[in-house]
Symmetry: C4
Subunit: 233 residues, 4 copies
């Protein structure tokens, strides 16, 4: 079942490795079939080098495995919270990419310092609060999803399609599994740029609101004029 | 039309990717036919991996598409300002290369700290002022070109063949499209060297004027003696 | 003799190079046959590119060469101390990987700042004290092993399967030669993350004990639920 | 003439590129025939990708081209000073490798912080004083050699087989052209390690003299026991 989505999710996971976002079995990408409310996700702890499309696991909104010979990613519950809350999202990704993790461990947002950031993220990329001991012990992965939702609230999740979970790492999302990977690669790149910017100028200021507006809306929304058509991921 | 120039521009764009200056569809290179005042430029938002020479877009000095099945780069207006002002320029490039962006976001020039810099840039690589809200809203790409021209003024653009646009990233140029890419690769490398120099010695001073002179004129101008002939890019 | 173990040790050494942990002849991995108390180790100063499984050297617990046409690694005595003290260990690795060496030279532990660290190391990765002049001159490699044992003491070496030797570099270990390499790759990666975290937030605090617990025990021990079975290395 | 040496020098130059020490035409390696006092060196400004062994240039001790269809490296005079002063040297290399240049631009030595450094460099890697305007204008490349000699003096150049020329970059040498490249790769790596060490611990101290002694003499001299025989480069 869901052969096409499985292939998309598989390829998106492989792209994580190709883009240097993960080593070993780290990271996971999922995608959703919105008609059936079924989520396809990477199996837990399986090597990218031997993984195949048919190894992807199908789960329902309660996290039950509907199809698959492997256990799903241990982060499945986090993905499901995001899909349930935000119907705009078609793919979710989690990595331990280095620059993004540095900000997550530092407990700091990735401030929008320039147009590279503004091209994809309409404002600072936030960092969640810490989970409490109770939240961690009772339902860690579920509450990771909940604290992301608490941070984004009812804002459009596609305006800033990624977040840092404190002391953990980035989650990102997109219209598709491939789009979510695109966004996490950009998130890590703007984290790298922000890091280097802060090092050479500790007093640096955020990009102006009007340059942020200009670049974001050059690529997104009704008046976009970058690219050959839709550039949304 | 302009098949040879299209091939040169195409290859220069591909070189951006090969040299690690761009990811995804980021960055663009153009070249000019000075006899016809026609500019060949990368199409907007097209993947490097599938791009072909015939996808390059030909525009006139007013930015009208003269030939091409794609929209030209959204930064075309910036390139045109540079070609119109500086007849010495045969190629223009824009990237979001990481080290250069860090300085652009920090709003700081790349100070000439050594001979690697002096071999190609005869002085600090400047950073423009911020564009005003009005400049951004009225004609962003045109005014990006204008602020570059405002910064360089009537100095020889080939003496320092690159610049940082504040909160944005580097533009560079050269005698040819390939030369402009060469210069942007060197610009990013000297930005990296400057960054690391500043980190280990925050009190470091600019290279002496006579060492700057020596290295620059060892490679450029009538008394150059580096290489087997012309080394100008 | 020990053909299977030699192949494992050879492949683990080659993996050091493939993962960017070593250049030239740097680094070494060993493995042990616990029934025979024989250790198989990389020969000293042999190039990875020409090395073959049959070049691995077999030594006994006193460091005598039992088989092999090369001299064993000059660090053999250090490996032996670890095998003798800790029966849980099946493989040992030493590298000069860059991020780990930076902490070793700085004389600082790698503090646990997040879940990437917690997934594999149940607490800070310690840095040994300096060896005394006497210890260095009398039996340098042996005393390197001894100072590691002094630092770990009777704690479970598998809970934090790596250490920094002051002014030197990392040693790591695992259940197998391949597992020891896995652990040293992760050690270097978490060192990189810790470095970047400290740079952007010099006042950063250690990860909470309950998040450390959660991630470590999600992957290790009786209640582990990450992966498809054992994830221990 | 000197076909074997030309091949060695060619391969050593290509190794510079393979090891990431150079981009474009940057860098140069030479080798010497001590019986004939002839030096073989890379031609100036020739691309690595098209260079062939027969493109190497043969010069005598006065810098006259004895054989070759290209001009020799513009740094030839510097190499010759080193060969004339130090008969131990069989190969010389100059690069603009990034980490070494950062220290050269900062005007700081690479302090010996650990065993990676001590394995190859018996003490801090010095940085020369600045050349004066007169020295630069009268005979830049010759005086670059002279200031290196002034810094090393009558110490054994093989004990610390590399140096930083202020505001310029590293020169290194070895028993052979390949050995000089080996030493420059290690020099850049220990520069990287020193940089990162200084960043995480600005108050870090030099490695102890006895650990420096131990590691250096484990690899060099009459009592060396690392490797399968001579490890000297």
């Amino acid at each position: 079942m869901l052969e096409k989505l499985k292939k998309e999710v598989y390829e998106a996971n492989m792209e994580l490795q190709a883009k240097g976002m993960v080593i070993y079995t780290w990271g996971n990408v999922s995608g959703i079939d919105r008609e059936k409310n079924l989520v396809v996700i990477k199996p837990s702890g399986v090597d990218y080098d031997t993984m195949k499309p048919e190894d992807m696991v199908v789960v329902d909104f309660d996290g039950n495995v509907v199809e698959g010979h492997y256990k799903p990613s241990s982060d499945t519950a986090t993905h499901l919270v995001l899909y349930k809350k935000y119907p705009q999202i078609g793919g979710v990704v989690h990595t331990h990419s280095t620059w993004a993790v540095a900000f997550a461990q530092a407990g700091m947002p990735i401030t929008a310092y320039g147009t590279t950031h503004a091209d994809y993220f309409y404002g600072d990329i936030p960092c969640t609060r810490e989970l409490t001991e109770k939240e961690i012990n009772e339902a860690y992965e579920l509450n990771t999803g909940n604290v992301i939702v608490e941070t984004i609230g009812d804002n459009d999740p596609m305006a800033i399609p990624g977040i840092l979970v404190k002391n953990h790492g980035p989650f990102a999302w997109g219209k598709t599994p491939a789009g979510s990977v695109y966004n996490t690669v950009v998130l890590d790149k703007v984290a790298e740029m922000a890091y280097k910017t802060m090092m050479i100028n500790p007093d640096v200021n955020r990009v102006s609101q009007y340059l942020l507006d200009k670049h974001y809306f050059r690529k997104h929304g009704a008046n976009a004029y970058y690219g050959q058509g839709s550039e949304d991921h």
